[in-house]
């Protein structure tokens, strides 16, 4: 009984910490993205509010909260109100299975540094990322606007097709770790990050996860200059803010996923494991911001071609080759 209570309290503490860290990281990622993009385009980015623009996220939130919460005429009201929450929620839930560092030992208890070490953590992540499609699609559908609908349809097709190559790219990782648990996957990379042992899977994973999370080279669902704002065209105020924050939480999630699956998680010399983990996550986030500053958006059909005709066959081939190599090594 007592043991159960302590476990429960520990879980709550971890939850609170993760929420705090993730939400403030998301807020500052927005700032970081704006500043880095600005510098890449030879501007400064926001630098007026507070020293170096550090209070900008707070001001943005105040602005978003005080704005009118607008529901378009003949929108499907309840679905419309509910959709943004779904996006942010699914993104936040993903953190439950991400391990941040090796288990700590405090007062003779072993505390795993993960909210919930599911033995099917990877499948859970996939489940959530499929659910995240619903936030976008429902939001677009309920808005009763053609731009939103086009955005929603695009994101549906895009996320579904890139999820395939995403899953296939992770199969080799699972094969070499022999487990679906994220902790186990990190453990299996103690001396050799998967990025080096599965380079092709790494590239496919990075491409598909960018498409999956609608990051810029693949941001057709939003595509400001074609379809206004895509699925969030009709959203205003904090509901738009939820989509927006969800996108940046997602950026942290994909940073964490890349770190866990390919960059060796918390493993690294000299520094404490948590620092390595956060550093790697931020590095991946920087990569995606960098890509946003560098890459143009492909056409929609090109995106589909690339997904189905290049990435999925490559990923399948990669699975076969990895299997063959593993069998050869064992036998």
């Amino acid at each position: 009984m007592n043991d159960l209570l302590i476990s429960l309290i520990l879980i709550l503490v971890k939850l609170g910490m993760i929420f705090g860290v993730v939400l403030s990281m998301a807020a500052y990622l927005v700032l970081a993205e704006r500043k880095i993009l600005g510098r890449m385009q030879l501007r400064y980015g926001p630098n007026r509010v507070g020293p170096g623009g550090m209070i900008q996220p707070l001001c943005d939130v105040i602005k978003l909260i005080t704005k009118e919460d607008f529901v378009p005429d003949r929108a499907d009201k309840w679905v419309f109100l509910f959709a943004p929450g779904l996006t942010a929620l699914t993104a936040l839930l993903s953190f439950a299975v991400v391990p941040f560092s090796p288990p700590l030992t405090l007062f003779g208890r072993e505390i795993p540094m993960v909210v919930c070490d599911l033995n099917i953590g990877l499948l859970y992540l996939f489940g959530l990322s499929s659910l995240a499609v619903y936030g976008v699609v429902l939001g677009g559908w309920a808005s009763n606007s053609k731009y939103s609908l086009i955005g929603a349809i695009r994101s549906l097709a895009q996320m579904l097709s890139y999820e395939l190559s995403l899953g296939l790219a992770l199969v080799p990782v699972v094969m070499s770790a022999k487990s679906f648990s994220l902790t186990e996957i990190v453990m299996s990379q103690a001396d050799w990050p998967n990025m080096l042992s599965h380079p092709l899977a790494f590239l496919i994973f990075m491409t598909s996860i960018a498409a999956e999370s609608k990051r810029t080279p693949f941001d057709m669902p939003e595509a400001e200059n074609e379809i206004v704002g895509g699925f969030h065209t009709e959203y205003s105020g904090m509901r738009f803010g939820l989509f927006f924050v969800g996108e940046y939480i997602n950026l942290i999630v994909i940073g964490a996923m890349t770190t866990v699956f390919f960059l060796g998680g918390w493993h690294g010399p000299f520094l404490p494991p948590v620092v390595w983990f956060i550093g790697k996550v931020l590095f991946v986030a920087f990569l995606f911001i960098w890509a946003r500053g560098s890459m143009p958006r492909p056409r929609y059909d090109q995106l589909m071609h690339f997904g189905w005709k290049v990435l999925i066959p490559l990923a399948l081939l990669n699975v076969v080759i990895t299997g063959a190599v593993l069998v050869a090594m064992n036998g």
């Binding site: 890449m40 030879l42 501007r43 960098w290 890509a291 500053g293 560098s294």
Partner: protein, 176 residues
Amino acid sequence: MGLWRDIKGTLQPFWITLGYLFTKPVTIQYPEEKLTPPPRYRARIVLTRNPDGSERCVACQLCSAACPVDCISMQAAEDSDGRRYATWFRINFARCIFCGLCAEACPTMAIQTTPDYEICNRDVLKLVQEKEDLLIDGCGKDAEYNYYEHSGVGVVNERGGNDDEYGPVDPKALMP
């Protein structure tokens, strides 16, 4: 060949943006740093004076006619010696689009655009400027120019008495 080109085309932008990331931005941080625009910049409009210190404007209404947004208005009057001037002269800067057509139209070089671009104001009526606000104690561009030394009714010299001017033409002598 095509594949190689695609890979190069994908990676090169990353290299270039990385370079820009470590280049000093070109932004001018406005309230702290100020840009001095070139002399012919079209911002706040002034009325200039002749080299001898008299007003240049002869209230001919050409600027007001040229103005596409009709933001110049004035009242013309005439001195005892036949010299025309404006009793009041008003430019509504809230409406002005700083096209510079007034300065182009002006025969006496009186109305001129200047590089003083900091005229925004919270009170829109402060943007309506009268002759006192517009008239400056200088000649602006074309400092040597005095309209009445080249043309016009006899204010400086007799009518037609300027060096580069013919006397009045007798229209009846112009028969083909």
